[in-house]
Amino acid sequence: MNIARLIEGCKQQDRSCQKALYLRYVKLASRISLRYARDEHEAKDIVQNAFIKVFTKIGSYKARKGTFESWLSRIVINEALQLYRKQQRYSDLEIEEDYTIEVAPVVLEHLQAEDILKLLRKLPDGYRLVFVLFVVEGYSHQEIAKELGITASTSRSQLTRAKKLLQKFIIEQNSLEHAKDFTK
């Protein structure tokens, strides 16, 4: 069944169409949610909420405004950011460290996506979101600032810190000695 028919069926709340649409796009949604979530459980919550929103708001989807994939991606990202905004209310104790480890070329090839996700999750929430939105999704700092309710300069500084931290984690992962070999 083509996507247009599936969407039409979903608008009529047809369960079989909803499930078919879900099965077709669940991998895309889960891939996106994993980048933002702190763990797999949270990523599943994001995907669930996103699909519920998709099926309740599908009447507002207009094919001429963009592909369904981009619409779904936007919803998943919004769900992730919404979760973040809720959790942002937690005034967590911030332990700021100034990481001054020099950036060195790092061997990444043996790192699997799972490993990268694990490293991403080690980042503080704010850093992770800024990093993913900027590097993976291609948002500008202005857009990130608007989404997260921060200033563009904060976004920039958080990105810098995120990169440094990530590199630090990667270095730790590969061991400093191994990395040094490749810097020669």
């Binding site: 499930k19 889960s30 669930q48 005034s91 967590d92 332990i95 070329p105 090839e109």
Partner: protein, 443 residues
Amino acid sequence: MRKILPNNWERYLKRSLEQHQTQWDEEELWQGIEPQLPKPRKRRPLLFFYFLGVAVLLGTVAVLIPTPDAEQSEPFVSKPSTTDVASLVDSSRRASNTSIPTSILATNNDKSKAKSSTSTSSLPIQKTQPIEPLAQQSSTAATPKPITALSQSPLEELVVPMMKENSLEPIATQQQFQALHRLPIQALPVAVPKIEGVQLKNQYPQIGISPYMTIALTHRTFNALSDAATGKIDTRRQLEQALESMEMGILLDLQFNKNWAFQFGLARQQISERFEWSDINQRKFSIQSDSAYFYLDGQNQKQYLEGKIEAVETRTRLVRNYNRFTLYNIPLLVRYSKRDQRFGWHLSGGAIVNFRTTFEGRLLENASILESTDIEAQGIYQSTVGLAWQLGAGIDYQLTPRSQLSLLLHHRRFLNTFTSPTTDFEQRYGFTGVGVAWKRWLK
């Protein structure tokens, strides 16, 4: 092994993440989604027939109860005037042996008075035609003076509806008109007294219908299990409690006498529940640090030592929740009203039976930081039928003898609509609202 340079490691990360495939149990995930999806739209034939029944009932009441001869219209009384309704009888047919009672043939002696009449009765009569009394016509045996409009219509259709519409006393009896009708009538000169705005006595019971709309705001009384008692949340501070409501409905008024009436009807009420609270939770923990302690060395420089640092994490969660209910209400109210000229006031009060039909929203679990509760699944608000009481007051403005506009103020309190028989959950909503109603008297 290929070296990844610093300027493209981000690109590598991006590509890896985009190509990543999850190995989730998709069926299990779907099981979590499906129950929360909106149900396919159901037709509600019962509700439709209910509305249809109410409409038929109102219509039947309106039709079956005869229109009284009089209606209350004191503010609109003006001086009586006269209207000349002239018709001419075909003189040739009148020459036959049929006699027309002279009592029904009023004269029109004063033609100037007729011309200056401010009658609102509009018979299709060309008044420029000189109208002669029947007796006079018969004596002169003049040629017919046809009046186009009148001559094309049966007399009964013209005269009888006119009387009904203007609540006029008939000049002739039905039998007399029938006698006339058998005649080759061209026109009948009749002088009918016209009263603008009749002032006649009231007749009770009177029946009226009142479509109305109200909007209401309220504060909410929240009685739930103490969160602190669960040990999971230290304190909960409810910051804001509000409900917005809009109701539209129709009331049937049974006015027993000048002051007292009974009202019942059907209304649809939409309630938007909006509340906000903050949960505060604190956790003590320790972290390992390489600079937990320090001492000053011989050069007065700080030297750091490893150790554990005690820390307190304070989590504050601000929760906003939006729920939406739809109720169908059957108001059963007693109303006392007073009127002076066009303005009046009223007091009303009574019970409201309500049926909760839909609920949209989620309630956050009292004892949980993050989990929410599906209210329908958990059986909270199991009472789909409830009771409320209401007190109200308002001012009325008489628009026409048969209709009035009212501004309403009311307070409504739900007694058991939002309670659960199986849990300690109990919420007693109270609404204070304003509204507008328009009333039309059917009788």
